[in-house]
């Protein structure tokens, strides 16, 4: 078997922020450990403020760790790298660039535009946006914008795709559509996918493994492997069992947090 790229290893990572008043600190992540295999689809769920975005930003190279170490394919993560693409929640498209130029940004930045120009058009039509190739972001709907964000991150063929609640701001129909598209793109590109979400159903529908995090300090309280085959049926009993398990865990995490506050 050939060794594939896209392995992420988080070892005893703790992240402490200095608070605005400078006299106190905030422990965003405490002793987090994770092993994510190449081409695996993993979700991290948790209530808001549990540090899951911080964790993703550490993997992306946008934040440094306070203690511990984060590795990508055996190398310490230091700084952003096109090998690890990131899709933001919203408003990260460049408003002054057309859809095509937004998508081509990564190719130009990495000096691959000449060889990859047709890749841009292929990806645009792949997400049914050919009509809008010359439109500007403000002329698109929220769903279209997120499709562009997705494709913009994919154009540089990242080994790992980090998704920071990419569908959080969309209505449920658009969200379900894009979820299916995500699965298809994952099948085609075979990258490692790490999805942050607070939508439990979304996590179960998409991922092979789910990490549940508790807030303040952010810790991983449970890891749930899912062995259902794709495409998954949102109404199946197995789906419901897992959903209840996760919701119970999240509730539990909340109780523990209340104890912690006392």
């Amino acid at each position: 078997m050939t060794k594939r790229a896209g392995h992420i290893s988080i070892q005893n990572v703790t992240k402490i922020f200095a608070r605005a008043d400078l006299n106190s600190t905030l422990v965003a992540l405490e002793n987090v450990n994770m092993e994510i295999q190449p081409a695996e689809f993993v979700s991290i769920v948790g209530t808001s403020g549990c540090g899951k975005s911080t964790l993703l930003r550490i993997i992306a190279g946008l934040e440094s760790v306070t203690f511990g170490q984060a590795y990508c394919d055996g190398e310490v993560i230091a700084g952003a790298n096109p090998k690890r693409g990131l899709v933001f929640q919203e408003h990260s498209l460049f408003p002054w660039l057309s859809v095509r130029d937004n998508i081509a940004f990564g190719l130009r930045a990495t000096g691959r535009y000449k060889s990859g120009a047709d890749m841009v058009d292929r990806l645009i039509s792949r997400v049914d946006l050919s009509e809008f190739a010359d439109s500007y972001p403000h002329q698109l709907s929220g769903g279209m914008r997120q499709r562009v964000s997705l494709v913009r991150a994919l154009v540089v063929s990242p080994d790992v795709l980090l998704l920071d609640e990419p569908l959080g701001a969309l209505d449920s129909f658009t969200r379900m559509n894009i979820q299916d598209e995500l699965l298809k793109l994952w099948n085609e590109h075979k990258n490692t996918m790490i999805l942050i979400t607070h939508d439990v159903d979304e996590a179960i529908y998409l991922s092979q493994r789910i990490y549940i995090m508790s807030p303040r300090p952010g810790r991983i309280v449970k890891e749930i492997p899912l062995r259902m085959s794709y495409p998954r049926n949102r109404g199946s009993s197995e789906f419901t069992v897992v959903r209840n398990e996760i919701l119970r865990r999240l509730d539990f995490a909340k109780e523990e947090q209340e104890e912690y506050n006392l």
């Binding site: 946008l62 952003a80 693409g85 460049f94 408003p95 660039l97 940004f105 403000h138």
Partner: protein, 301 residues
């Protein structure tokens, strides 16, 4: 409408048998002709019809105002000479001096744009670098805060004494007036860029130069143009003051010079020419702005 105004001009007896020419007639009839052309076009296009319908009261009022002014000056003398020359006299004044006026426009524009571009360029440099670097901001901000509120024309008397050449001094004056708003707005613009834009660019592999020229600069363009527009109005003011106070050419100088001869008609004429010149300059600026900022919301088409 134009015909009526013309008849009022031609038929009503003039005060004291003052001499008149047909330039005013031609002017009014030209206005009428423009409206007539618009009317004929509106017969074929719904859009221009609606446009004309909306603007019709404005055109009528404009022509009426001419007639009223003509009546008050030429016909009855309610507004007396020499302070209120009638429209025909003003137009004749422009006509007589048109070669000199053209030269004045040329000199004014040279001075205006020399100062404007110098000020805008330096303003962009200070504004962008102050926005991007905390250390530059530390030194630039107090300077801007102290110098900014002083109207640039305040420096004129000093420049008149100290500057080696009046032209150079005036360029400096105009540039200073433009520098301030451009610096402020472009600095604010850089500080307001959403962090996600920079992060997305970094993740896609953008280096420092690309972050500066392909992210920071275009993201700041709306603010920069706000500063450029403000700067243009400051520059026009500074230009007029400089020309009236010292520079021996240009439209401001022309007005002042004609005042010396008590040529009120020509002064009014110059005001009209100034109005047209600056309107054209501002129109060109807004065209460029539209083009550059076509990606913005509300800038469809």
């Amino acid at each position: 409408m134009a015909v009526i105004v013309t008849m009022q001009y031609k038929i009503t007896p003039n005060l004291n048998n003052a001499a008149t020419t047909d330039i005013y007639t031609g002017f009014i009839l030209l206005m009428g002709l423009i409206v007539l052309v618009k009317f004929i076009r509106s017969l074929f296009s719904k859009k221009s019809f609606e446009n004309l319908l909306e603007k019709a009261p404005l055109y009528t009022a404009g022509l009426l105002l001419f007639a009223l002014y003509d009546y008050a000056t030429l016909k009855t003398g309610i507004l007396p000479l020499p302070y209120f020359p009638w429209p025909d006299r003003i137009l004749n004044g422009i006509y007589e001096d048109w070669a000199l006026l053209l030269d004045c426009i040329k000199n004014s524009l040279i001075l205006l744009f020399s100062g404007y571009f110098a000020g805008a360029a330096v303003g962009l440099l200070t504004g962008l670098s102050a926005g991007l670097s905390r250390r530059v901001r530390y030194w630039v901000l107090p300077l801007v805060q102290i110098l900014g509120p002083i109207p640039s024309t305040t420096w004129l008397p000093i420049i008149l004494i100290a500057a080696a050449s009046l032209f150079g001094g005036s360029v400096f004056l105009i540039a200073l007036g433009v520098w301030y708003p451009v610096t402020m707005t472009s600095m604010q613009g850089v500080l307001n860029i959403p962090k996600a834009n920079f992060e997305a660019a970094r993740i896609l592999g953008a280096g420092r130069a690309r972050l500066l020229f392909k992210v920071a600069l275009p993201a700041t363009m709306p603010n920069i143009f706000q500063g450029l527009t403000q700067g243009m109005s400051v520059a026009c003011t500074a230009l007029m003051v400089a020309e009236m106070m010292g520079v021996e050419s240009g439209l401001g100088w022309y007005i002042n010079w004609q005042r010396g001869w008590a040529e009120f008609a020509k002064m009014y004429g110059a005001v009209i020419v100034i109005c047209i010149t600056f309107s054209v300059v501002n129109f060109l600026l807004s065209l460029i702005k539209r083009r550059v900022l076509r990606w913005q919301e509300g800038h469809w088409n």
